[in-house]
């Protein structure tokens, strides 16, 4: 690699060019993060939000939320929700992406139609699925009971054991088109000659998929999974509308927990601490992703 050489004056100009972006980052990303971090080490609640000079209590808020049982429940739920959604969205999205690149009439239009799910606001999706999953008037239970698969309807969102699944189903519905589109873009970037020559050499369909599609689709897959992870991990409105974290924290995720601590119970510092736990998780994932991409590039370089 050729390293560019700069004159001293150029370097100064370089800093100048970076300045607006840096100022933007500090003002709109750095400040809220720092504010939240400071807040999480103070004691700010209903009694002292307006007073000047809030007391610092070290890791008191973190200890408080980690000792309670709701944080571990919401952390587990967030992880289960994210992994469940990712696995479903990704596999269905990939299957659809492959299907829609086989080349048949109307494929572009049909694919376009499928993306509608992704454009519906998530609160609307949440309400739709809340109705569809209802045990007394929901269509899903109507089908299950009507066809005789089960005798009793499933209280998807009212039973602690199924509520998280209910939200995963709804979120998967939103996420599939997103996965499909990005993967389709990746697949169409793979040159067709590769498949042709592989076919001539006698490669089976499975071989072509695992030896050509998967390796060449890897960058797109990473991008989809990482974006999906970040997007799913910080889910809020879907769950807030569908179950409000209930029944009894069965669908409580980090974001709803942090929201409730801050805005319903006015434990602002504990809410900030919970939000920071969420941020720390995403930060780690992002670091892992950067590393993964770098390693990958070094191998191919």
């Amino acid at each position: 690699m050729r390293r560019a050489t700069y004159e001293k004056g150029d370097r100064g100009a370089g800093y100048l060019w970076v300045l607006p972006a840096l100022a933007f980052m500090i003002a709109f990303i750095g400040y809220p993060l720092a504010y939240n971090l400071v807040l999480s080490f103070q004691k700010v609640d209903v009694m002292n939000i307006k007073t000047v000079g809030k007391p610092f209590i070290g890791i008191g808020n973190y200890r408080e939320i980690f000792l309670g049982d709701v944080l571990s429940t919401s952390l587990t739920n967030t992880l289960l929700f994210t992994i469940g959604c990712l696995v479903l969205q990704f596999s269905i999205g990939l299957a659809l992406a492959l299907y829609f690149t086989t080349g048949f009439r109307l494929q572009v239009r049909l694919r376009g139609l499928l993306t509608v799910a992704w454009m519906v606001p998530s609160t609307v999706v949440a309400l739709l699925f809340k109705f569809m999953l209802s045990p007394s008037c929901g269509i899903l239970n109507y089908i299950i009971v009507g066809t005789g698969i089960l005798r009793e309807p499933i209280g998807w969102l009212t039973s602690s054991s199924t509520a998280l699944w209910g939200t995963i189903i709804a979120n998967t519905w939103i996420g599939v088109p997103f996965n499909m589109i990005l993967l389709t873009a990746g697949i169409s970037g793979i040159p067709g000659e590769l498949y042709e020559s592989a076919a001539i050499d006698g490669a089976t369909g499975a071989q072509r998929f695992f030896r050509i599609t998967v390796p060449l689709l890897k960058p797109a897959m990473y991008a989809v999974l990482i974006l999906g992870f970040v997007y799913t991990f910080k889910v809020f409105d879907l769950i807030y509308v569908m179950t409000n974290g209930g029944p009894v924290h069965a669908t409580e995720v980090l974001s709803t927990y942090a929201y409730k601590l801050s805005f319903e119970r006015f434990h602002f510092s504990e809410g900030a601490a919970a939000a920071n736990v969420l941020f720390a998780c995403l930060f780690l994932v992002a670091l892992g992703y950067l590393r993964l991409v770098r390693d990958d590039e070094e191998i191919h370089a």
Binding site: G246, P247, V248, S262, F263, E264, R265
Partner: protein, 399 residues
């Protein structure tokens, strides 16, 4: 030329002083749909009554409204007059949202005319931070035809309720609908049962409390009440009742109009909530206060006085299905004693207990609604759920 310019400038200034634009008073509330109409009439009435201030009402959904107040406290945009649910008033007063209006109230004709419960909910540490805007409570709605067909009378006690529930439950019809959602609404709906057993909010793990929660849990266990109640708001419960999926429901007077509109042909009536040891209900209602950041506290106070004046209040209450927090308005009119529906609520109203007031009420409420959800979803036994709730309340009150 210069002199002419100066002259015209002075003229404009003078005109501005003579015909001063009325200042704008922003009023934030969470009344959508039916509930927004009568309140808008109060706003319009105020604007027509004087020319110093122009009130503008802004609707925000309740959760969003509360969030905006909290954000506003940290340095954002706040209205001149803020409406809050009455159990939340002490918290917001403690956080400094409201202006102390103790002295203004002392010089006001309305001072001392309000019922004690609603009035106390506006106070914090002996100071006044707002005025009660309306009062309400809960009662039992029942489907007359369904009860008749099942051969039962409106239940007056828990035992009668359990017996009636058995007869009323049919495929597709639950005997009772309530809201047991995991927030203030769930607490509000559970408290009549809790208090009727003789239990108190400060001793949630008493045998009486456990009895009350066990009673509701059994209604779900026996299939008399849908397990979905833990996800229902009071508006959802109303839809269940209005569509004939529930033979009875516990709900407030603000839903009278909704039932009338949703089910115009349904034959229904009201009764007091069935009791264990005593009749109880919970005092609901909203308060309005001037924000501490308001630039026009005098005009805002003028609005509060206008809104709380006897005749304006009476008109508002009679058109909105709400109850006047002023005793002279309530007792000065036959309306609440003669209206077929409202008189039942008026009767229930005398048993209505206030929530708090306490700045830590959100914690207490959270503990109660969580216990309710835990028991109804069978995550914990009623006894265990309430024991844990008591632990949380004790902790909340100690720091």
């Amino acid at each position: 030329m210069k002199r002419l310019l100066l002259l015209s400038f002075a003229l404009v200034l003078l005109a501005g002083l003579c015909f001063a634009e009325p200042v704008e008073i922003k009023v934030w509330h969470y009344w959508g749909g039916f509930e927004a109409v009568p309140f808008q009439a109060v706003i319009d009435g105020f604007n027509a009554s004087q020319n110093k201030a122009h009130a503008v009402a802004q609707y925000l959904p309740r959760e969003e409204l509360n969030r905006q107040y909290t954000i506003g406290l940290a340095g954002g945009n706040l209205p001149d007059i803020a409406m809050v649910d009455n159990p939340d008033h002490a918290s917001y007063a403690a956080m400094g949202l409201f202006l102390d209006i103790t002295d203004r109230v002392k010089a006001w004709e309305g001072n001392g005319k309000f019922f004690e419960g609603p009035w106390l909910s506006c106070t914090y540490q002996g100071k006044v931070y707002g005025v009660p805007q309306n009062s309400n409570c809960l009662a039992l709605y029942y489907n007359v035809d369904m009860l008749k067909a099942a051969g039962v009378n409106p239940p007056a006690t828990w035992d009668e309720l359990a017996a009636a529930a058995k007869k009323l439950t049919k495929p597709g019809v639950y005997a009772l609908a309530i809201s047991a959602i995991g927030n203030e609404e769930g607490t509000f709906q559970y408290l009549p049962w809790l208090l009727s057993s003789g239990a108190t909010i400060t001793k949630l793990d008493s045998p009486e409390s456990v009895k009350s929660l066990t009673f509701l849990t059994n209604l779900v266990k026996n299939g008399f009440m849908s397990s979905e109640v833990i996800n229902w708001t009071q508006a959802d419960a109303e839809k269940q009742f209005a569509t004939g999926r529930a033979a009875m429901m516990v709900n407030g007077p603000w839903n009278l109009q909704a039932v009338q509109t949703d089910a115009p042909n349904m034959n229904w009536y009201l009764a007091k909530i069935p009791k264990d040891k005593k009749y109880t209900s919970v005092l609901g209602g909203e308060n309005m206060g001037i924000t501490a950041t308001s630039q026009y506290p005098n005009e805002a106070w003028a609005f509060l006085k206008y809104m709380s004046g006897t005749s304006v209040m009476e008109t508002y209450m009679t058109t909105s299905g709400k109850f006047p927090p002023r005793s002279d308005v309530m007792n000065g009119s036959d309306f609440w004693k003669s209206d077929r529906l409202l008189k039942v609520f008026a009767d229930q109203m005398q048993y209505a207990m206030p929530r708090g007031p306490h700045p830590r009420w959100p914690d207490i409420s959270n503990a109660i609604s969580t216990a309710l959800q835990e028991a109804l979803s069978k995550t914990k036994t009623p006894a265990q759920a309430l024991k844990d709730a008591q632990g949380k309340v004790t902790k909340a009150l100690s720091n």
